[in-house]
Assembly symmetry: C2
Homo-oligomer: 381 residues x 2
């Protein structure tokens, strides 16, 4: 029981950590529980639906599958589900009509051919990146509904009645999901993307600032930088692509909210993100160099080294300031202030000094992406 206690404490700690990292996760779990309970109990209690075991099932199924963490995710799945069901239902009915013409022997063969063609074509369409990103769930539902409708052995009149029932059930499920996700502590993917972009720029800024303040200014070689936090701060930017892509995809489904209109240029964030990563790659190369380079060499304190170092420090500081201002400009959705270009100009002057002092510089490449970021930030906000 000692061991079990330990395990339990470990589990609890993990739960607390996950919840503390993002408290909206707890709210989301409660929201899913709530939506599902409402739909379940509604069907359980309502005497009208006592006979319709299958209908209740579709509502529950819809809620379980459609409810996502962000509003955009829920909306995207809900719309995919609704429209795919409509489309595939109509197609399935059509296939049914045609197959009946084949007579008793031809009917199953024709149906088999139809199902095969639709399933193969739809599965193939998922390899198209745009369809995969936005309509993947809709394609699944299309195959599913078409097969169910085409193969069901009901008569056409019965099927139309069933379709009506099925659609209204799904609509009810989708509505329950949308209401809970949009009006009860909504999590907007667009807002998350917006904040993530600014936060990533801030991380790059603090790397530069740390570089200027700790690495170049302090006596090199005296301080041990291996544990310095600024050398780690950019790590999460390196692999941000997947998160940004999916957030941008969700954001495109979302209606206007807060400071964002419906057709907010979300793809611009992806461009800023790409440039941030570009910059992070350079910083990562630099960080590896700093942590692995020969410490003993650094203690040489010639006048040349002094000059190089002060130029580098200047450059890092100014780059950091410029990035921080860009981040806050994005956050507040204003154009970047003139002082940002001012800092970039300063950084370039420092880089020029550096070039005169040294034939080839480690840092030059780190500054280059800065221009692009600046250009893009201007166009985005």
């Amino acid at each position: 029981t000692e061991k079990m206690k330990e395990k339990a404490v470990e589990l609890l700690n993990m739960v607390v950590k996950i919840g503390r990292d993002d408290p909206r996760r707890i709210l989301h779990s409660i929201k899913v529980g709530l939506a599902l309970t409402l739909v379940s109990v509604f069907y359980y209690v309502n005497p009208l639906f006592n006979g319709f075991g299958t209908s209740a099932m579709w509502a529950v199924l819809t809620v379980v599958v459609v409810m996502e963490f962000t509003v955009g995710g829920t909306l995207g799945k809900g719309l995919n589900r609704t429209f795919a069901t409509l489309l595939a239902g109509a197609l399935g009915l059509g296939a049914h009509y045609v197959a009946v013409l084949g007579g008793e022997r031809g009917e199953p063969i024709l149906l088999g051919i139809f199902v095969f063609i639709l399933a193969a074509a739809a599965t193939f369409s998922r390899f198209v990146p745009e369809i995969k990103a936005r309509y993947d769930y809709g394609v699944t539902i299309t195959i599913l509904t078409f097969s169910l409708v085409a193969v069901s052995s009901y008569r056409v009149e019965e099927m139309i009645q069933m379709a009506h029932q099925r659609l209204s059930t799904i609509a009810l499920g989708v509505a329950a999901c949308l209401v809970t996700s949009m009006f009860v502590f909504p999590v907007w993917a667009g807002e998350d993307l917006h904040k993530l972009t600014a936060a990533n720029l801030d991380k790059l800024a603090s790397f530069f600032e740390g570089l200027g303040a700790q690495y170049f200014e302090e006596k090199m070689g005296s301080g041990n930088l291996d544990g310095s936090s600024f050398l780690q701060v950019h790590k999460s930017v390196l692999n941000s692509k997947a998160t940004e892509d999916s957030l941008a995809n969700f954001a495109r489904w979302e209606p206007g909210h807060g400071k964002f209109s419906f057709r907010h240029p979300w793809t611009q964030y992806l461009k800023i993100g790409a440039h941030s990563r570009q910059c992070a790659y350079s910083l990562e190369a630099l960080a590896v160099y700093i942590t692995t380079s020969d410490k003993s060499q650094a203690s040489r304190d010639t006048e040349l080294h002094q000059r190089i170092r002060s130029a580098c420090a200047e450059m890092s500081r100014e780059s950091g300031k410029a990035l921080a201002e860009l981040a806050s400009a994005i956050r507040n959705m204003t154009s970047p202030p003139a002082s940002a270009s001012h800092h970039v100009a300063n950084a370039l002057v420092a880089a020029g000094k550096l070039k005169h002092a040294m034939p080839a510089g480690d840092l030059q490449d780190a500054v280059v992406p800065l221009h692009d970021v600046l250009r893009l930030a201007t166009s985005a906000s």
Copy 2:
């Protein structure tokens, strides 16, 4: 109609391109169509199942949802589906038993509470990264099945009969998927991961080789390198993390196949991947530097520059060779040959020469990850 023709040609070109990039995609589409048609027609034709409209539905549903591109993906989803259904069904029956004790008024309330607790807890568990990676689908199915069973208004005896039927239907669907995905042109995630890892090392190798042969050896400044292909070759390595992670996840489900045993150390590939990316980051920084640096400066042809350049060329060539040998060692699953370490040693000698010629080198940081890659490759294969 002119326009429509154009669109049609465009569409056809895209289809051909997707198919040519990976012909297994076409096979996969056909396999999905085949599995689905078999199951559909089986239920449609079989007189035994004429009454069980719902059963047929579950088989179709299973096939549509479980069938994935790789064997590992299909196996993972199939096992998740089967065990989650079993577990949640048992839990749901238990909840039903307990709720009945609450009397006519207490029953729906108790059921509502149970559904809420299970749905909220299960949804929360999805935020645990390990569960998200391996059991996400199982969690969905658990919520779904539990709600359906708990809320259904059948008597317990009927439910057990239903459960029996449902489980056998799902098992049939899963079996159909597994047979088609394992025995008809199987796509093994493990093999894909293996090939991807080696291919990524090869890409890094050709970057280094291009660097040595084109950038440092040729008269700098004379050739225009902007369009050089070696400066692009590492790009796909930069964002390979998501693909590698998901392939490794799928690979863990797969039974032994070909050269791979069941408990092949797939996580080692992720480590090699991480080091490859690390190296790619440095190369990216270098590529940005090369494409944006001042061309006019490069034409200075002092003796110092000559010496630096030949050392860099040597270093790049040797690094490239070492990486290429590592890649082929991984591909053939042998330990890296002694010549690989030999090349690394040569590269380090060249780096040493460089250090003597220049106070701070762009390239030093690019070589560092090489050691780690070597160390890891040894342990993995």
